[in-house]
Every structure is written in structure tokens, then in C-alpha cells.
């Protein structure tokens, strides 16, 4: 005779045993995987930069460096801000000292080896700031060229690097037209902005979005029609960087000017 205790035990094993393969059916449901691949998942992260609002304070760069543990004084950064100064004679001067980690503290343009260039305010026709970060391209060349598959794209569109598998060949760094990639000075593997994946997947905003006092940076979900960022991207005149490379970048810009590189 089976006593009650034994019956309960056996019943649980049977239920568990049936549930397991059923769960697998859910996890490995090929239709769902297919749907995700075809881009009908629930989430597709996108970024919106309003260059009109950016004042070049560099708070975003600072926050990013700390949040993502990029050595503070190392001359590499996951995100940066560029300053564009167009003078009367039509020349464009661009700089981004230390990625604008400390903002722009002088009127002079940092020309690296060529030294600092003094431009008098009277000569300036227009000037503005442009924050840059990984575009989480829809057709990412960095993923294409990685020989070991250490760089990959998640279902929600973010491109990530597997630090335990990257061999450090640098092909992805060469392949990115936006030059957002570099070698991490500590881990010696490819590194780049990942929209603070550890934060956004937990319902938070990226560190740079939170740090920007002027609301120049916003992140949103393109698959959600009610998302305010999606609404702007759909209804206003936005632009992307270097479209000609066919990378389908997903960082959108408001107030874009033709001088932006």
C-alpha cells in the first residue's frame, strides 16, 4: 500500500517531470525565436539625442565612466561630447578634450598635436555640441566581423561584448564606422557603450540619461508606440549618423547639422 506521504512525493515527481519538457517547449518555441529574429519582439532599444539641449557640460561622460568602470583618467570613453565651432570663413573646428569628461572649460579648440586654437567670438558663425555613443546598429558591422562571435546582438537590439571570449583582435574596432570601440585598459578586450544594459534591463535609465541635467539624452523602446521617445522619432524630423555605411544606426538626433561628422 502506498501511504499518503509517498503518494505526494510520487505525484510531485510526475507533475515536475511533465512540467519540465513543457517548459522547454515554451523556452525553445521556435516560433518565438523566429519572431524575435524578425524583429517583432516586445523591446527594441533606441536612443534620442537632442543636440539643441546639450550644453557640453560632460556630466554624462563622467557618469558613464564611473558607472561602467572605465578608468577615470584613461583616454578612452564609451560616450563623449563633441564641440563644433563654425567660423565666418566656413571652416569647421571640432574638438572633444578627454571626451569632454570635464566639459569644455576653455574657448580654445583642442587640436591635439597642433595645439590650442584661439577663436575670437566675433568670428564664430555657429557653435553647438553633439553627444556620441554606440548606435546599437540594426546591421552592426562589428558583429559581422568578429571572428569568434564575442560581439553579438541581443533580441532587444543592443550589441554586447563577451569579455570572457573576446580574443582582442581589434577587427570590430576597425569595422565600426563611428569609432565607438576601444580596448578596455584593464580587461584588454573590446569595449563599448551598451546602453547600460545592466540598468535598462532592470527598468532603469542609462547612467548618462540620468546624469544629463538638460534632458538632451533619452532612451526608449521603439516597439512601444506610446513611448514618448518613439513618438518623437516617429513624428519629428530626426536624423542618424553616417547612414551611407548601411549600418542602420538606432541613435537618433534632433537638431542635426550638416557639419557633424
Amino acid at each position: 500500500m502506498m501511504n499518503r506521504r509517498e503518494f505526494c512525493k510520487k505525484a510531485m515527481i510526475v507533475v515536475g517531470g511533465i512540467a519540465l519538457p513543457l517548459a522547454a517547449l515554451e523556452v525553445f518555441n521556435p516560433k518565438r525565436l523566429q519572431a524575435e529574429k524578425e524583429g517583432r519582439g516586445k523591446v527594441r532599444w533606441a536612443f534620442l539625442v537632442d543636440t539643441q539641449k546639450c550644453v557640453g557640460c560632460g556630466f554624462c561622460v563622467k557618469a558613464c565612466k564611473i558607472e561602467n568602470e572605465i578608468p577615470y583618467d584613461a583616454n578612452v570613453t564609451r560616450t563623449w561630447v563633441e564641440r563644433y565651432v563654425i567660423t565666418r570663413d566656413g571652416t569647421t573646428h571640432i574638438d572633444s578634450p578627454k571626451g569632454a569628461r570635464d566639459g569644455f572649460t576653455t574657448m580654445k579648440i583642442d587640436q591635439n598635436k597642433e595645439g590650442m586654437l584661439d577663436i575670437s567670438s566675433a568670428d564664430i558663425e555657429k557653435a553647438f555640441f553633439v553627444p556620441k555613443l554606440c548606435n546599437q546598429c540594426d546591421n552592426p558591422p562589428c558583429v559581422q566581423v568578429c571572428p569568434v562571435g564575442a560581439t553579438y546582438q541581443t533580441a532587444d537590439g543592443v550589441v554586447l561584448v563577451d569579455r570572457t571570449w573576446c580574443i582582442g583582435c581589434g577587427y570590430c574596432i576597425m569595422g565600426c564606422p563611428y569609432s565607438v570601440r576601444f580596448f578596455h585598459p584593464v580587461y584588454h578586450v573590446a569595449e563599448k557603450c551598451n546602453f547600460c544594459y545592466h540598468r535598462i534591463s532592470q527598468g532603469m535609465k542609462t547612467a548618462c540619461v540620468d546624469a544629463c541635467p538638460f534632458g538632451a539624452r533619452r532612451i526608449g523602446n521603439l516597439r512601444d508606440p506610446d513611448d514618448p521617445v518613439t513618438k518623437i522619432i516617429m513624428t519629428e524630423r530626426v536624423n542618424v549618423l553616417k547612414e551611407e555605411y548601411g549600418t542602420k544606426p538606432q541613435v537618433f538626433y534632433l537638431g542635426f547639422s550638416k557639419e557633424v561628422k
Binding site: 591635439n112 598635436k113 566581423v145 581589434g170 569609432s179
Partner: protein, 417 residues
């Protein structure tokens, strides 16, 4: 310090994360694979197309190709940030990447070269085994050689005319298969660069073809140099030996043979050189004529920043002068040696101008990057990606060649091929 910071000097606006990430070792990589491929093609000219005059140098360049082979991989490993993970390429090859198949192509090619050499030398190996076995008293060296040759023979001891004929057929077949594979190995290196759409200088479908042609040129040149040097050494040794053994061939006989081989080889060199230059110039003219957005910055790199490296060192010293030397009547061995050296310089500069030149400008097209080769190896990184790392890579094939020829001599072997 950030990787690349030690040797990159930025000028005007360069994106903050941009550095010269692919440095000297990536210059060495196509240079060395080019030599491998070129040496192999040279040896195949004899084995496949039966160019009799190249008989002497064919065996030589085949063995040289083998000694160069492991060295084609060295620069890649020295360049990786995680060299110990290099094996990952074979474990999880991601085939959309042009680098992913490298291990496979490379191994295939290595096996072809190794088996071709085996067939070429099988007769010799077996004879050595038999001779050593027949010896009454064997010293330690003899015993070692016997072991090596026995292992190399792999039990195939048949020396009948029929078996030797089969060897010969196998050599011809392998050499024939080897040519496309060698070209593929190297064209592939060209594709790695040519397919980078983010780089305005690299992206051209001509890149693989240009790489193959210059590879053959450099391979032939290197074989010629090494051949000449080895011959000179042999001549010296001979004069010295002839003092006691007057029946040895005189140096004049050797010299006659040498000039003939060199003249013939030089013809092929010039042929491929013309092809290579034509393609490179076509590429340049096409870029200037179509003048797409990147042309402004490319022009200032090509005609201003890198003018000396491109037009003086590469085209002038490295192509034009050797071209004249080889085409002038009465080619002497000494002139040929000089010409080959210059050709090697030219091809090296071409690799340099492609790899480093391709990173000489910012992807923003608004600034430049200058490369300073680290000389003194004050850190591991500066050794690996500096002058001494490059010299190590250059020296290795000669050491290997020396070792291999201890077992498989390239001169004075009678054979049926």
C-alpha cells in the same frame, strides 16, 4: 595606458577612442603570408608548368615556404590582446567574419605544403634510412638521424621506379592544388582589409588581387635573395674544400648555373611586378577620378602626409628602380640581389602604407593620426608591437630554414623530379 596610445599621435580632430590599433604586427602579417604564398607559387612554376630552368630554385623555395609558414601566424598572435584565447577562432568560428576561416585555410595550406615536401623528399628519406642502416658503426648523430628519417619515411620504403613515378605525380598534383590555395590564403588577407567598409582607404574589391600580385613578387624576391646568399656561401665552402679535393665542381660551374637561374626567376618577378603596379595605380586613379566624400582626406594622406613612404620608398625605390635593374641587359647576380632587396622593401612599404596608412586619418575625416614605431622594448606591449617584435618575426623563418635543411637538404640531392 590605453592600447595604442604609446604610438599614436593625433592631429586636429580625432574621435576620442581612435588610435592606431593595428600596428607593426599587422604590417608583418600580410608581408609574411605574402612571402609564403609567393615562395610556393615560384616552386609550382617548375612542378606544374615544367619551367625547367627553375628546377634548382623550386625545391629551395618549397622548403623555404615551409619554414615561412609558422611565421605567418606569429604576427597575429603577437598582435592579439588575448593571445591565449587565439584558439577560440577554431572553437567558435563566426563565419560572417573574414578572419574566422583563417585557421582552416591556413591549416589546409600547411598540409598541402607539408605533403608536397614529403613526396619530393620521399626518395631521399628512404635512401638515407637505408644508408644509415647499412652503416656498421653509428655514432649518436647517426642514430638520431636514423630515427628522424625512419619516422619521416612513415613506412613507405618502396623505391621502385613505379613508386617514384607515383611520387612525382603526387607532387605535380599537390603543387597544382596548392597554387589556388596559396593565392586564396593571401587574397584572403587582402579581403580582411578590403571588406572593412568603415575604412575609406582599405575598402576596394581590388585589394585581394593587389595583395596576391605583390605577394608573388615578394616571395620570388625573397627566394632569389636567399638563393643567392646560400650559393655564395656554398662557393666559399667549395673553394675552401677544393684545396684538398680538386675533383669537386669548380666555382665557375656553380656561378654559371646561378646566373641562369637568377635571370629566369627575374623574368617572372618582373611579370608579376608589372601586374601589381598596374592594379595599384588603377586603384589610385579610380579614387581620384570618382572623388567620393573620403577623397579629400585620402588625398592629403597620399600626396602630402605619406608622400615619401608611398611615392619615394614604395613606388620609386621599391618598384621603379628594381624594374630598371631587372630589365637592363646583362643582369648580374649582384645586381639581381640588389634588385630583389629593393623589391622586398617596396612590398613591405606597400603593406605599411595600406595598414598604417589606412589608419593615418580619423574616421571623422577631420584629423590625422601619426604612427611612431616603438623602438625600445620597455614594456611587453612595446616589445610585441615594436621594432624588436617585428625583427623576431623576420628572423624566425631563417632559423627554421636552417633547421629544416639539416634534415632535408635543398642542394646536391639527386632526384627524379
Amino acid at each position: 595606458m590605453v592600447h595604442g596610445e604609446a604610438w599614436t599621435i593625433k592631429e586636429f580632430f580625432v574621435y576620442p577612442d581612435e588610435y592606431i590599433y593595428w600596428s607593426i604586427q599587422i604590417v608583418m602579417y600580410p608581408f609574411m603570408t605574402g612571402l609564403v604564398a609567393g615562395a610556393f607559387v615560384l616552386s609550382s612554376l617548375y612542378h606544374v608548368f615544367g619551367v625547367k630552368q627553375l628546377k634548382e630554385i623550386a625545391r629551395f623555395s618549397l622548403v623555404f615556404s615551409l619554414s615561412l609558414l609558422p611565421v605567418a601566424m606569429m604576427p597575429l598572435l603577437l598582435h592579439l590582446q588575448q593571445p591565449f584565447r587565439g584558439i577560440n577562432v577554431l572553437m567558435t568560428p563566426h563565419f560572417t567574419s573574414a578572419i574566422a576561416a583563417f585557421g582552416i585555410v591556413f591549416t589546409t595550406y600547411g598540409m598541402i605544403v607539408a605533403s608536397e615536401i614529403w613526396f619530393v623528399y620521399r626518395g631521399f628519406i628512404v635512401e638515407s634510412v637505408l644508408a644509415l642502416r647499412g652503416k656498421k658503426e653509428r655514432n649518436a648523430v647517426d642514430t638520431l638521424r636514423l630515427v628522424i628519417y625512419t619516422v619521416l619515411a612513415m613506412g613507405a620504403m618502396d623505391l621502385s621506379a613505379e613508386a617514384l613515378h607515383k611520387d612525382e605525380r603526387a607532387v605535380g598534383l599537390l603543387a597544382a592544388i596548392g597554387i589556388p590555395v596559396a593565392c586564396f590564403l593571401h587574397g584572403y588577407a587582402g579581403f580582411i582589409f578590403g571588406s572593412v567598409k568603415a575604412n575609406a582607404l582599405w575598402m576596394t574589391p581590388l585589394m585581394p588581387v593587389i595583395f596576391i600580385c605583390s605577394a608573388v613578387v615578394s616571395g620570388i624576391a625573397l627566394c632569389m635573395i636567399t638563393y643567392i646568399v646560400t650559393m655564395e656561401i656554398r662557393k666559399l665552402l667549395l673553394t675552401w674544400k677544393r684545396k684538398d679535393n680538386p675533383w669537386f665542381p669548380s666555382t665557375d660551374e656553380l656561378k654559371g648555373a646561378e646566373v641562369q637561374v637568377v635571370t629566369m626567376t627575374a623574368k617572372y618577378l618582373v611579370m608579376f611586378l608589372v601586374l601589381a603596379i598596374t592594379l595599384e595605380l588603377l586603384d589610385l586613379i579610380f579614387r581620384g577620378y570618382t572623388a567620393v566624400r573620403s577623397w579629400d582626406i585620402l588625398r592629403s594622406v597620399i600626396y602630402e602626409k605619406d608622400f615619401t613612404k608611398i611615392f619615394i620608398l614604395q613606388y620609386g625605390l621599391g618598384n621603379l628602380i628594381p624594374f630598371i635593374i631587372f630589365l637592363m641587359p646583362r643582369l648580374t647576380v649582384r645586381k639581381a640581389a640588389l634588385g630583389s632587396l629593393l623589391v622586398l622593401l617596396g612590398v613591405f612599404m606597400m603593406r605599411w602604407n595600406v595598414v598604417i596608412g589606412g589608419q593615418a586619418f580619423s574616421a571623422s575625416f577631420a584629423g590625422f593620426m601619426e604612427y611612431r614605431l616603438p623602438i625600445w622594448p620597455d614594456s611587453l606591449e612595446n616589445f610585441k608591437e615594436g621594432l624588436f617584435g617585428a625583427l623576431t618575426v623576420i628572423a624566425t623563418p631563417f632559423v627554421l630554414f636552417f633547421l629544416v635543411t639539416r634534415v632535408l637538404p635543398v642542394f646536391g640531392v639527386k632526384d627524379s623530379h
